[in-house]
Structures are given as structure tokens and as C-alpha cells.
């Protein structure tokens, strides 16, 4: 097409309203130019075919698949706890285990010491710290 401006005007006429001047100028060219008339008819044909070319097959269970995917994703997300949640969860386990160990130790101490005092339950020794660290201390002390 030699006249690019008229060609653009022709395309524009399909998608937008032309001004009076533009319309007159296009009609004048259409009357005189075989090439422009051919372009007009080809463009019209292309547009018709394009409008009719939409061919697609939608899965009959489209909505169900979408909802299933959404639900799967939300289940997956809810099953992955955040770090704080994980810490709280872990702390509860650690605290519970520590309590059981403490109770067992208290019973062990009470049983071994044959005495129901709190010191005995908590494993507190009546001996001074020196005796605890050096078993020979008492021996030496009594000898002196």
C-alpha cells in the first residue's frame, strides 16, 4: 500500500469512530483505489475469520478442579506451621519430658535416701561442698 496514512485510517475505521474529515478522505480513496478496496475486503475477511476462530475445549469439571487445587493448597499451607508455632510446640514437649525426669529423680532420691525430707527429695547433700568434691576429706579430717 503506497499511502500509509490511508491504510492506517482504513484499519482505524474498524475499531474507532472517524472524524468527518477522516471519513470523507477514506471514502474518496476507496472510490478511486482498487488496491484500497482489496485491502478493505481482505481485512474484513480476516476480522470475520478471527472472530470465528475461537476454538477451545473447556474441561467439564473446570470449577471442581479449580476448587480442589485451592483446597489442596490451603491444606498444604495450614499443615506447615510458622517458626513461632514450631517453637511453642517443641517447648511443650521439652517441658513435659523435663517434668517427668524431675519427678522420677525425686522418687529415686526419696527411695534411695530412705528419708522423706525435701533435701533428700531434691538430692541435697548434708555434707559440705568440700566433702562432695573430695571423698577423702572426711577421712583426713577425722584423722586430724
Amino acid at each position: 500500500m503506497k499511502n500509509k496514512k490511508i491504510e492506517l485510517l482504513l484499519y482505524k475505521s474498524f475499531d474507532s469512530e472517524l472524524s468527518k474529515e477522516e471519513s470523507e478522505s477514506l471514502n474518496k480513496e476507496l472510490e478511486s483505489s482498487d488496491e484500497l478496496r482489496e485491502l478493505y475486503s481482505q481485512t474484513s475477511r480476516i476480522r470475520e475469520l478471527a472472530a470465528d476462530s475461537a476454538s477451545y475445549g473447556i474441561n467439564p469439571f473446570f470449577e471442581e478442579i479449580v476448587l480442589k487445587k485451592i483446597n489442596e493448597a490451603s491444606t498444604k499451607n495450614s499443615s506447615i506451621p510458622g517458626m513461632s508455632e514450631q517453637l511453642v510446640h517443641s517447648f511443650a514437649k521439652v517441658a513435659f519430658t523435663a517434668t517427668i525426669v524431675l519427678v522420677l529423680l525425686v522418687f529415686y532420691n526419696l527411695n534411695k535416701g530412705n528419708n522423706l525430707s525435701i533435701e533428700n527429695a531434691l538430692g541435697k547433700s548434708k555434707s559440705p561442698i568440700e566433702v562432695a568434691f573430695d571423698p577423702t576429706f572426711n577421712l583426713i579430717w577425722t584423722q586430724i
Binding site: D15, A50, A51
Partner: protein, 187 residues
């Protein structure tokens, strides 16, 4: 859309509100209403391919995840088609990279020669569809929205976030390229 006489049809915004409150049947109704439009846009952009269905579903999943951010500034249709166009463009980009890596890429002044071969026994509709798939994405998107999906020039401009003048010039270029390509087969 089926409308029963005497029964008030639920509007898109009512459905969105219900979906925001966790009503999945309301969301399913949104999908039912717009699946055809969304699929039409994706098939127009990508042509017949295995990924089209998945991308169609992805459009609605993305919308569901962004439900609380949807303020209704644009219509639901515009919003969904915009997601569909963006995801289609992502897919085209992904294919381009794939093609580039397989050393099979040819681009030429607005026309992208993809591997959409036209056989001798192809019908006119198929030829046009495959030719549209050979246009570069920026021309393809305006052509699909305007000619296949039937949006007005203004609506197309709104969906693509472009000035109307740009849409018109891209449409002209797209049709011109399409005519060059189809000359061999149709005219």
C-alpha cells in the same frame, strides 16, 4: 449465564463478598461465569496446547488468593482477563527461553515464526488461528482481546493498561502482519 425468571440474579460484587467470607459455592459461580472468557483469551494467546487448561485454572487460583485485595476498581472481567493475559505472556516468555535454549528462535519485525505449521488440508479457521499465534505477543494480545474476545478498543486499552491510541496502532500493525502472513493461504 442461566437466569430464572423472577429470581434475582446475584451480582459479581455480591459473589465476591460471599467468596471473601469463605463461601466456596459463590467462588465456583464466579469461575462458572468467567471460565469461557478466560479460556478464550488464553487459547487466543497460546493456541491449542496442553498448558492452556492449567493456565486457565491458575487464573482463578490467583484471583482466589488475591480476593481480599480486590477492591473493585476495575470490573471482575477486566481483572480476570488481565491475569489471563499476564500468565499467557509469562508462558510465551517461558517458551521463548526454551526455544532459545534449543537454538530454534527466529524473530522478524513483529512476526514471530513459531512452530505452528499450517498443513495443506487446514481449514480457514485453523489457518487464521495459527497465524494469530505467530504474531508477536504485543500485537497478539490486542488482536485477541479486540477481535476474538470482542472487547471494545477502550476496554482492550483498560485491560492492557495502554492508551487507546496505542491499542489502535497495534491493531493496525497486527492486522497488517496477519494479512501478509495469510496472503499465501487465503487471498
Amino acid at each position: 449465564m442461566i437466569s430464572i425468571p423472577g429470581v434475582k440474579e446475584i451480582t459479581d460484587s455480591e459473589l465476591i463478598e460471599k467468596a471473601k467470607n469463605g463461601d466456596q459455592s459463590a467462588f465456583a459461580e464466579i469461575v462458572r461465569r468467567y471460565k469461557k472468557k478466560v479460556s478464550s483469551t488464553i487459547y487466543g494467546m497460546l493456541g491449542k496446547c496442553d498448558e492452556a487448561q492449567d493456565i486457565g485454572q491458575e487464573v482463578f487460583i490467583r484471583f482466589y488468593n488475591a480476593l481480599n485485595n480486590f477492591r473493585g476498581d476495575s470490573s471482575l472481567s477486566t481483572y480476570l482477563i488481565r491475569i489471563a493475559i499476564n500468565l499467557s505472556l509469562n508462558e510465551i516468555r517461558r517458551r521463548k527461553i526454551k526455544r532459545f535454549l534449543s537454538f530454534d528462535k527466529i524473530l522478524e519485525d513483529g512476526i514471530e515464526f513459531a512452530d505452528t505449521s499450517i498443513r495443506d488440508d487446514s481449514d480457514e479457521k485453523e489457518i487464521v488461528h495459527k497465524s494469530i499465534a505467530k504474531l508477536s505477543p504485543k500485537y497478539r494480545s490486542v488482536l485477541v482481546l479486540r477481535l476474538i474476545d470482542g472487547y471494545s478498543t477502550e476496554e482492550t486499552a483498560k485491560i492492557l493498561n495502554l492508551p487507546s491510541g496505542t491499542v489502535l496502532s497495534r491493531l493496525a500493525r497486527a492486522q497488517s502482519n496477519l494479512r501478509i502472513y495469510l496472503k499465501e493461504y487465503l487471498f
